[in-house]
Symmetry: C2
């Protein structure tokens, strides 16, 4: 009948106040935040309270500090920060590799199509570079996985769509461990990936959205075959590697 009358602790209100100003763009990116003491003075709360609020915003990626710097600056969440949160959440929701794969299957063709339609010359160049990088050194297992991710990232970049770019990161992060196993155990995986990448690059270069999407679809389907051949159960729960991105060193 009655909702509980909301009480919000001070650290929460302080954090919301700052967050709102950032989202309203009254505090613009790159701008230095006032010092903790100054904020405490303005909000009329203690510095400890301010600090708790700042930690919240910091971990949301809205505030960050420059390399080795001391003061906080307004920043927007990096892809890594958003992706980290999302993949962490997915891990806790016990998402399975097949779930991630299914999402990949749904999203990536769309990304490829968008990239084909709108790629800039530089983005195409990056994409080609990524494909070449994978082709050149896919012998080393450690690098190969990273290069595959780089390729997908370059494609997202080429799509010029912030949503795609942000969605790419967490899915790849969750896929990486199992992808490493596939590349390790399935002999023909490297060659198939290389071939698919080249077809996709060609289609993107030719601005042929339909072909790009089709090849990407095939490419992703290959991953699923990879799981089966590598003997990874599709119902494996994706795990986080718990590798914290070092704190101030962004």
């Amino acid at each position: 009948m009655f909702d509980p009358l909301g009480y919000a602790p001070a650290y929460w209100r302080v954090s919301e106040a700052i967050r709102t100003r950032i989202l309203r763009r009254e505090l613009v990116e790159g701008q230095a935040l006032p010092t903790e003491t100054e904020l405490a003075r303005q909000f009329e709360v203690n510095r400890s309270t301010v600090r708790e609020a700042l930690r919240k915003l910091e971990s949301n990626g809205l505030l960050g500090r420059r390399r080795g710097g001391k003061r906080l600056y307004v920043t927007r969440p990096t892809r890594e920060s958003v992706g980290g949160g999302l993949s962490q959440a997915l891990a806790l929701h016990r998402a399975r590799v097949v779930d991630v794969w299914e999402a990949l299957q749904a999203v990536q063709p769309g990304i490829a199509a968008a990239a084909a339609e709108r790629r800039s010359p530089e983005a195409l160049c990056n994409l080609e570079a990524a494909a070449l990088q994978f082709a050149r050194r896919h012998a080393e297992r450690g690098l190969a996985v990273g290069d595959v991710a780089t390729f997908f990232d370059a494609l997202g970049e080429a799509s010029d769509n912030a949503v795609f770019m942000l969605l790419n990161e967490p899915m790849l992060r969750l896929l990486k461990p199992s992808l490493a196993i596939i590349i390790d155990r399935v002999p023909q995986a490297r060659a198939r990936i290389e071939a698919a990448q080249q077809q996709i690059v060609a289609a993107v270069a030719a601005r042929d959205a339909a072909t790009a999407a089709a090849w990407m679809s095939r490419h992703v389907r290959d991953f699923r075959r990879g799981y089966e051949v590598a003997g990874i159960p599709l119902s494996t729960v994706v795990g986080e590697d718990f590798d914290p991105a070092a704190p101030g060193l962004s």
Copy 2:
């Protein structure tokens, strides 16, 4: 040439220590965290330091408190929490409605297909209920938008894929404001949405993945027409409504 030697403040290390234990499932969901004083004793740091660490985890959605409760419990990030973070990030990245629409166009058909393949009887029931709800009361503008979102959510639920469920939330959140305008300004919008929903429900009920995906694709394409008819520029930057989910009242 040299990497900076990493230094991590204590509050960060404390936060990481707890986060790692949660991700390793050594701290399971629903479990109460030790008290702040106890944590301070165990980590051998000051309580203020512990509190800063807790704020980080709290805002990551890994810790939460029960209604009106005092102690912190281990929780997993709710859909709202990760959706809020993601849509906030997208807003700051100046994502445009066309970007969100494009992502919707890529993802939703996949969700519909997955839902058609795997829907449980209960999920189907919820989906039907959502469609019915929209059909019944789409006259009221305020409710109509929410009901559309509920329909998409029910579909995500039916797909039984945690990734899809988590991805749905932020996109809908960003789309809502513009959707409200469309429903308001485009006379035939309501009828077209209702028709599409019914077709999708029917396809999902019949486990016809291809038809479900096709209708969903058409449905999403309609939104784009809606933007044009309603006179909303596709390059409008999506904005956050800055509606903070109340703090302890989850």
